[in-house]
Symmetry: C2
Subunit: 114 residues, 2 copies
C-alpha cells in the first residue's frame, strides 16, 4: 500500500522522497560546494578525495536530470565543463545547512572533535 508512485518507484513518506533526490553519500556535499560558485568536474573530483569518477559522474547526472544543477560544456581544447547550482538546487541549501548544524551538535554530544 504505497502512498505514491513516481517513475515506477514506491515512496511511503515525503522524507523518503527527499533522500531519493538529494540523499546518498555525495549529493549534499556536491550541492554544498556548488552553492557559492561554479566548479569544474576535475575540481569537484579533487575536492572530495575518496570520490571515484563513477560516483561523481553518476551523481552529477542525476542532480542534472532532477534540475538541481546546470552543466555547461565549453568547447575549448581540452574541453572544459562547468557545473553550477539552479534555483531549485538553492532551495535545498537551507535543508543541508540545518542537517550540518544538527550533525555538529550530535558529534559534540558524542565527544567528536572536528
Amino acid at each position: 500500500m504505497p502512498q505514491f508512485l513516481k517513475d515506477n518507484k514506491k515512496y511511503y513518506t515525503p522524507v523518503e522522497y527527499v533522500f531519493a533526490k538529494i540523499g546518498g553519500t555525495y549529493k549534499m556535499p556536491l550541492l554544498w560546494r556548488l552553492k557559492d560558485k561554479t566548479w569544474r568536474y576535475s575540481e569537484l573530483k579533487e575536492s572530495i578525495a575518496h570520490l571515484s569518477d563513477r560516483m561523481l559522474s553518476k551523481n552529477l547526472k542525476e542532480l542534472l536530470n532532477d534540475g538541481f544543477i546546470n552543466k555547461e560544456v565549453i568547447p575549448e581544447v581540452p574541453v572544459r565543463t562547468e557545473y553550477s547550482i539552479t534555483e531549485k538546487g538553492m532551495n535545498s541549501i537551507p535543508i543541508i545547512s540545518m542537517l550540518r548544524d544538527y550533525g555538529f551538535e550530535l558529534m559534540k554530544d558524542d565527544g567528536i572533535k572536528h
Copy 2:
C-alpha cells in the same frame, strides 16, 4: 583521509553522521510517531504496514542505544512494552519536520499528489 572516526566507522561530513544516527527508511517515521505519545511495539508495527519485525526491533534497539528513545517493559501478562521519545530524540523533530516540508515541496514540483 577520514575527517573523524567513531566506533571504528569513518565519517566524512556531519550530514553523514546524522544519517548514521537517524537515517534509513524507518528511524524518522518512528521518531515522528513517538514525538506525541508513547507507543507499544505492536502499535508501531501496525502503523507502518510494510515494516517487518526484524527491521522494527533493529531500528528501535539502535535508537535506544543512541539515546533517542526510551523503553519501558511493563511486567503484565502478557508483557507490555512502551516506547517513548527522549529529550535528545525531541531535538531531531524540527529536522524531520523541515525534511517533511521540503519533501512535500519537491513532490508538488514533480506533480505528485498526496
